[in-house]
C-alpha cells in the first residue's frame, strides 16, 4: 500500500510545473525585490525599490542617459534657461496617461506644486524644496521657478520628479493614488496581490523618448525580503532576475550555465553616521570629537572593502560619491587604520575603559560584524541591530541608535547637493547638527558659479572630516543575478531598466 503511493507521489512531483511563469515563452519577466513598497507614489516611496518601480510607471520631464549622463527628451522635447531662477520646458504633444487622460502642462503644474508643499509629506524634501512655483505658459509649455539660483535643478528634474495626472490624482486622493497609480510610463500597474504585483506593457507608450519602446510584455514583481530565498529562486528558475546578491556569491552563481551574475557599480556610498548631537543619548561619548576620530582610526576600511565588498568597491574619504559634482575628496582629512592611535584618543577623552554603543545596519550583516570586531579591539562594545532598510533608516531618523552603518544612493543624482545636502541639513537625517557645515552646504546648493560651489563644498568636506561627524566607508557594488537568456545591462546608476531589456 505504501510503496505504490510513494511512486505515484514522485511521478506527480516530476510532472509538476515547477515555475509558475513561462519567461521567454510568453515574453514575461519575473523579478524578485526585497523591500515591501508602502505605495506607488514616487514622492513617498523613495526606497531604491520604489525608485525602480516609479521609473517604469511614470516619466519625468527629462531622461538622463544611464551611460553618457546626457539629458535626453522624455515628457519635455526641449528646454531652456530663461533667467537665473527659471527653466522653461516644451512638452511633448499627444502623450496620454494610462487611463487615457491627455498629458498637458496642467499636470506638471499640479504635480510639482502639490509635492513641493511640505504639508504633502514628500520624503525627500531636498528634491522639491528648491521649487518656488510652477507656471503653465500654454497647454504644452511650462516654467519651473526656483526660490534661489539652483544649479542642480535639471539633475533633480530628471531624477526625482515624476509627473502625475492632475485630474485623476485629485479625484482619488493621495492615498488612493498610492494604491492605484496612473502615469505616462512604459509600464502600467496590473494586478496587485499583497506584496506582489504585475506591470503590464503600456501599448500606447509614446515613441522617440529617451526610454525607447519596451520589449517585454509583462513584469511580475515578487516580494521576497529574504536574500537566501531570492538566491534559491534564481537557482531553481522560479524567478528570472534579482539583485542585492552578496558579492561573494556572484562568481559561483555566474559559473552556473543557466545564470548570469555580475557586480555593477552604483553611486551608492556606505557610511557610519555618528550621533554626535546626542539624540539617542544626551550624555553620549560621541559628543567628543576625539571619540569620533578614534572610531575613524579604529575601523579597517581597506580590509573590509578587500574582503567583504568586492567588485569595484573602494574606500571613500569624503561624505559623498567621488564622481558627484562638488565631492572634493582631496579636501577630506584622511584617517589611517591605527588602533593604537584610537586607544590614545579614547584615553585622552577620558574613556580608557571603553563604553557601549548601539549600531543599526541593514545592508550586510558580515560588514556590520566586522566593524563591531574592529571597535571591540579598541574597547568600544557595539550592539548590532539588523533591520530591513526602511526600518533601519527610520531608527536612525528617530534618534534611537548611536551609530548607523547605512548607505545613500543620492537618487543617482550626480551632484553633492543630493548627498551632503540630505544629511547636513538639520533634518532627522542629521546626527551632527553642525550649524557651520550646514550653512556651507545650503549655500553651495545656491551658488551658480561652479568654482565657488566647489570651494564651498571643499570647505564643508574639510570641516566634516576634521570633526569626524561620519566614518565615510566605501562605495557599494550591487550584485545582480538573472536568467542567462535575458538581455540585461547592469546600470551604472543602480536603477535597473527593464524597459530596455528583452529575451534572447
Amino acid at each position: 500500500m505504501f510503496g505504490r503511493s510513494r511512486h505515484l507521489l514522485l511521478a506527480a512531483a516530476i510532472a509538476l510545473p515547477t515555475a509558475l511563469h513561462a519567461g521567454p515563452a510568453d515574453n514575461s519577466l519575473t523579478i524578485a525585490l526585497g523591500e515591501e513598497l508602502p505605495g506607488f507614489d514616487g514622492y513617498i516611496s523613495t526606497s531604491r525599490d520604489g525608485v525602480v518601480v516609479t521609473r517604469h510607471l511614470f516619466d519625468m520631464l527629462i531622461y538622463r542617459n544611464p551611460e553618457t549622463f546626457d539629458y535626453e527628451p522624455l515628457l519635455a522635447t526641449a528646454w531652456r534657461r530663461i533667467d537665473d531662477l527659471t527653466w522653461e520646458f516644451d512638452l511633448r504633444p499627444g502623450v496620454t496617461f494610462h487611463n487615457g487622460d491627455a498629458f498637458t502642462a496642467e499636470d506638471v503644474v499640479w504635480t510639482l506644486t502639490t509635492y513641493a508643499d511640505p504639508a504633502t509629506g514628500a520624503r525627500s524634501q531636498a528634491a522639491v524644496s528648491w521649487i518656488d512655483r510652477v507656471e503653465a505658459v500654454d497647454e504644452l509649455t511650462v516654467r519651473i521657478v526656483s526660490k534661489e539660483p539652483f544649479p542642480a535643478a535639471l539633475e533633480f528634474v530628471a531624477g526625482s520628479l515624476p509627473i502625475h495626472p492632475a485630474a485623476y490624482a485629485q479625484e482619488v486622493g493621495l492615498e488612493g493614488f498610492a494604491q492605484a497609480p496612473v502615469g505616462t510610463g512604459p509600464y502600467r500597474l496590473g494586478e496587485v496581490r499583497g506584496g506582489d504585483f504585475t506591470l503590464l506593457r503600456n501599448e500606447a507608450y509614446f515613441e522617440g523618448g529617451g526610454k525607447g519602446t519596451p520589449a517585454i510584455d509583462r513584469i511580475d514583481v515578487r516580494l521576497i525580503p529574504d536574500t537566501a530565498t531570492r538566491i534559491a529562486e534564481i537557482l531553481s528558475g522560479g524567478v528570472d532576475w534579482t539583485w542585492n546578491v552578496p558579492a561573494d556569491q556572484i562568481p559561483q552563481l555566474d559559473g552556473l550555465p543557466h545564470v548570469t551574475a555580475e557586480l555593477g557599480t552604483t553611486m551608492r556610498t556606505a557610511m557610519i553616521l555618528l550621533d554626535g548631537a546626542g539624540r539617542a543619548n544626551p550624555d553620549t561619548p560621541l559628543a567628543d570629537v576625539r571619540v569620533r576620530q578614534a572610531i575613524n582610526h579604529a575601523i579597517d576600511r581597506e580590509g573590509i572593502v578587500a574582503a567583504l565588498v568586492g567588485g569595484t568597491g573602494e574606500v571613500i574619504h569624503a561624505p559623498c560619491y567621488p564622481l558627484q559634482f562638488g565631492c572634493v575628496s582631496e579636501a577630506a582629512v584622511v584617517y589611517e587604520f591605527d588602533p593604537a592611535r584610537a586607544r590614545e584618543l579614547l584615553a585622552e577623552a577620558g574613556h580608557a575603559d571603553g563604553f557601549t554603543l548601539r549600531m543599526g545596519s541593514f545592508r550586510d550583516r558580515a560588514r556590520a560584524e566586522a566593524v563591531q570586531a574592529n571597535l571591540a579591539a579598541v574597547g568600544i562594545r557595539v550592539e548590532v541591530e539588523m533591520l530591513q532598510a526602511r526600518a533601519s533608516f527610520s531608527s536612525w531618523r528617530e534618534g534611537q541608535i548611536d551609530m548607523w552603518y547605512g548607505d545613500w544612493g543620492s537618487f543617482s543624482i550626480a551632484d553633492n547637493s543630493a548627498a551632503m545636502g540630505n544629511f547636513f541639513d538639520g533634518s532627522p537625517n542629521d546626527g551632527a547638527l553642525d550649524e557651520e557645515i550646514n550653512a556651507l552646504v545650503a549655500e553651495a546648493a545656491r551658488i551658480v558659479d561652479p568654482d565657488e560651489r566647489l570651494a564651498a563644498y571643499a570647505e564643508a568636506i574639510r570641516l566634516a572630516t576634521e570633526r569626524a561627524h561620519w566614518v565615510p566607508m566605501h562605495t557599494i557594488v550591487m550584485g545582480y543575478a538573472y536568467n542567462a537568456g535575458l538581455n540585461f545591462a547592469a546600470p551604472v546608476d543602480e536603477v535597473p531598466r527593464f524597459f530596455l531589456s528583452s529575451w534572447n
Binding site: A13, I14, L16, P17, T18, A19, L20, E36, P38, G39, G121, R123, E175, G194, G195, D196, R222, L223, I224, P225, D226, T229, A232, E233, L235, S236, G237, G238, L387, Q388, R390, A391, F393, S394, S395, R397, E398, P428
Partner: protein, 306 residues
C-alpha cells in the same frame, strides 16, 4: 458537563483579557505610539500634535478601555509602516496560514495514525522500533533546519518543487512537510499507546475468541476508543502550529500571519504585533476549549469525575 464548560469558558475569557492587557501595556510602554504613527519625518511638534489627537496622553487604563471598544467594532488600528488597517492585513494573510496549518495537521495525522496503529499491532517488533525511532528523531530535528535542507534538496538541487510564495498548491508541499512532521511524533506515540491499551482490553479478546477477523476488530472496535485522546491532542497541536508557522513561513516566504508577525517584530510595527498576538491567542484558547469539550463529551470518565 455544562457547568464544566461554563467554567472553562469564563477562564478562557479571563485568559484572553489578560493577554490583551499584557500586550497592550508592553507595546504602549516600549515605543511611543505617537512617534510610530508620525513616522520618521516628523518633528517633535508633529509628534505632540498626534499624541493629543489620538489621545495618547490619557491614562493607560482609559486608553485600554478605548482599545477594547475599538476591537469590538472590528478596528484593530493601522500599521505604523503601511498605514493600512491592520484588520485588512490580517484578513488578507489568514488564508495562507490557515491552509498551511490545515494541510500540516492532515499530514501529521496521515502519518501518525497508520504508523501508530501498525506499531501497536506488533509491539516490540521491527515496525514498532522503526516507528519509535522516527518519533524520537522527528522530535529532535529543528524544523527550520529541516526546512532549509528540504529547500536545498528538493528546491534547488533536484528542482522538483517551488521554494517560496504561495501561488499554487505545489508551493505548499515543502512547508507542509516541514511543519507537519514536527507534530507527527507526539501524535504517533499517543495513537500507539492508546491502541496498545485498547487492544489488551477484555472485549477485544472476546471478539478474537469469537473468531472475528483482525481487520474487523481493528476498525470497528479498537480504533474508535483509541482515537479519542488523539482528537484533543490534535487541537493542541494545531495551536502549536500557529506558533511554529512563524518560522516555517519565514523560511519559505509564505505571506501568512506568521511571516507578518515576524516582519512586524523586526520593524517594531506595534499595532500589527498586538493584533496578531491577540488573534492567535483567541484561536489558541478556542482550540484548547474545543479540545477540553471534546474530551469531556467523548470520554465518560472525565464527565463522571466532574
Amino acid at each position: 458537563m455544562l457547568s464544566f464548560l461554563m467554567r472553562r469558558l469564563i477562564l478562557s475569557v479571563a485568559v484572553v483579557s489578560a493577554i490583551s492587557v499584557i500586550t497592550f501595556v508592553l507595546s504602549h510602554v516600549a515605543i511611543d505610539p505617537a512617534a510610530g504613527i508620525a513616522g520618521d519625518s516628523a518633528t517633535p511638534a508633529d509628534i505632540a500634535l498626534i499624541r493629543a489627537q489620538y489621545g495618547f496622553d490619557r491614562p493607560l487604563a482609559v486608553q485600554y478601555l478605548a482599545y477594547l471598544g475599538q476591537i469590538a467594532q472590528g478596528d484593530l488600528g493601522r500599521s505604523y509602516l503601511t498605514r493600512q488597517p491592520v484588520a485588512d492585513m490580517i484578513l488578507a494573510r489568514a488564508p495562507v496560514t490557515a491552509t498551511l496549518a490545515g494541510l500540516a495537521i492532515l499530514l501529521a495525522l496521515a502519518l501518525a495514525v497508520p504508523l501508530g496503529v501498525l506499531a501497536a499491532l506488533r509491539p516490540g517488533s521491527g515496525v514498532d522500533r522503526l516507528a519509535l525511532a522516527i518519533a524520537v528523531t522527528g522530535q529532535a530535528i529543528p524544523n527550520f533546519w529541516a526546512g532549509l535542507l528540504l529547500i536545498l534538496l528538493f528546491g534547488v538541487t533536484l528542482g522538483w518543487l517551488p521554494i517560496s510564495g504561495s501561488a499554487t498548491w505545489a508551493h505548499f508541499v515543502l512547508p507542509t512537510i516541514t511543519l507537519g512532521t514536527f507534530a507527527t511524533p507526539a501524535l504517533m506515540r499517543l495513537v500507539r499507546a492508546g491502541m496498545i491499551e485498547v487492544l489488551e482490553a477484555d472485549y477485544i479478546r472476546t471478539a478474537r475468541a469469537m473468531g472475528l477477523r483482525e481487520r474487523t476488530i481493528l476498525f470497528r472496535f479498537a480504533l474508535r476508543p483509541a482515537i479519542l485522546p488523539v482528537i484533543s491532542l490534535t487541537a493542541v497541536q494545531l495551536g502549536f502550529m500557529l506558533g511554529g508557522s512563524v518560522v516555517v513561513e519565514s523560511v519559505f516566504a509564505l505571506q501568512g500571519l506568521g511571516y507578518l508577525a515576524w516582519q512586524s517584530m523586526t520593524r517594531a510595527d506595534m499595532p500589527v504585533i498586538q493584533a496578531i498576538v491577540l488573534m492567535v491567542s483567541l484561536i489558541y484558547v478556542g482550540l484548547m476549549l474545543l479540545a477540553d469539550a471534546l474530551n469531556a463529551a467523548l470520554d465518560p470518565r472525565i464527565r463522571a469525575a466532574q
